[in-house]
Symmetry: C2
Subunit: 235 residues, 2 copies
């Protein structure tokens, strides 16, 4: 079963390129990007491709186009920071330290509360799938790609168990960002603490239907991840 590699239409890569340029500050808020014709010529693509790329960025709140004025980068407050693409673009370059802090602050707000909800409304189906993900993590270890994928799925399953569509959507966004920070962790840190026992605690709390324990286990888990991540960013 091979994972279908992502197709790559021109408008997608142009959007990515411009998106990275914007979030990395090369085109700061208020700046006006080159005209559609210039962009098309410099990238050797047609104007339609450029326009479709710009529409995508506009849909994410990054830019605003109007005749005569051109295409202007909108204020950061208007950006859809929780868009998975946008988060991924943020981590293309070096992630600003403050941004990593913001991410963990959001996780520490959302995920413990979600774990609490999950402990209340989980079904046996959820428990089974969580158990399976945990097993994979234990067998393959957290350094392996399979183990990391299982880790991702473990956390996604918890949010899914809450039955709240908005939280599930957050799951995808935060997950994408966490995937990126995990890269940094494993790139720089020599020795990471083993988080599998903590995952086991969390699993037990959810299985037992113990919201308070689920919240506590999640908080511990995130704080540990934060310490590991920050120490590797400073290295």
């Amino acid at each position: 079963m091979v994972e279908q590699q992502k197709r790559n239409p021109a408008h997608r890569s142009i959007a990515r390129e411009l998106g990275v340029a914007i979030v990395s500050g090369r085109y700061p808020p208020g700046a006006i990007l080159p005209g559609e014709l210039d962009l098309a010529e410099s990238r050797n693509v047609s104007r339609s491709v450029v326009r479709e790329a710009l529409r995508m960025l506009a849909a994410k709140g990054l830019i605003d186009s109007r005749p005569k004025t051109g295409t202007r980068v909108r204020a950061r407050a208007d950006w859809n920071m929780l868009d998975p693409d946008l988060l991924a673009w943020m981590f293309e370059g070096e992630p600003p330290l403050g941004f990593v802090d913001s991410l963990f602050q959001l996780r520490i707000i959302v995920e413990p509360a979600a774990a609490e909800l999950a402990a209340r409304s989980r079904t046996t189906r959820h428990i089974a799938r969580l158990g399976h993900a945990l097993e994979v993590m234990e067998e393959k270890g957290l350094s392996s790609p399979e183990g990391q994928a299982a880790d991702q799925q473990f956390h996604n399953l918890i949010l899914e168990a809450t039955g709240n569509d908005l939280l599930i959507s957050l799951s995808g966004s935060i997950g994408a960002a966490v995937r990126s920070t995990t890269l940094f962790k494993h790139r720089k840190a020599k020795q990471l603490r083993d988080s599998i026992p903590l995952h086991r605690d969390l699993f037990a709390a959810i299985t037992d239907g113990d919201p308070a324990a689920a919240r506590a286990a999640t908080i511990t888990l995130i704080l540990q991840a934060q310490e590991d991540t920050e120490s590797s960013l400073l290295a």
Copy 2:
């Protein structure tokens, strides 16, 4: 100072129309929408306009296009539920009751935590602006457009005071959705309880730098809004 009315390019309205059709279930996940040429002809626009609209929907995670297969509606889990446009489209028709519940569940998770943070890291500048918004609310009342705008801004300012970009972005999304539910409240409910005293409590807690009180006041505020909203939805 007139509020600039929103420009309305064709690709935007087509995107809106298709977006509403998708979130309202007329094109359920897995369904394949009509070909670009059909869409263009039936809407009396050119194919480029349709394509740009589709790119916008794709950027929000709603659809996925590929040659030969056509354009397919993606699974709900892939949608960017926190996108302000998407939230607005959800409320175009009648908002599903479960969705309103999800929204309040998210608010009760995020906003009290944000108020706590705000009480810790607020600056005098924030306090001044919060105070001003509160004054406007008191003078104009919550039934007036100005009062409601001030209410919105009050809550946005709190999230802004946290200094967390991701939370600020959530502010825009949640705010857009709340604006829609507020419409329902005032449309159907005869008498709403006055929430201004609660806002005053919250303001005082943030000014005093009392995180626990800020959390408590916010919880009360949201619960009251939830009760009012749900009673008007049932009416």
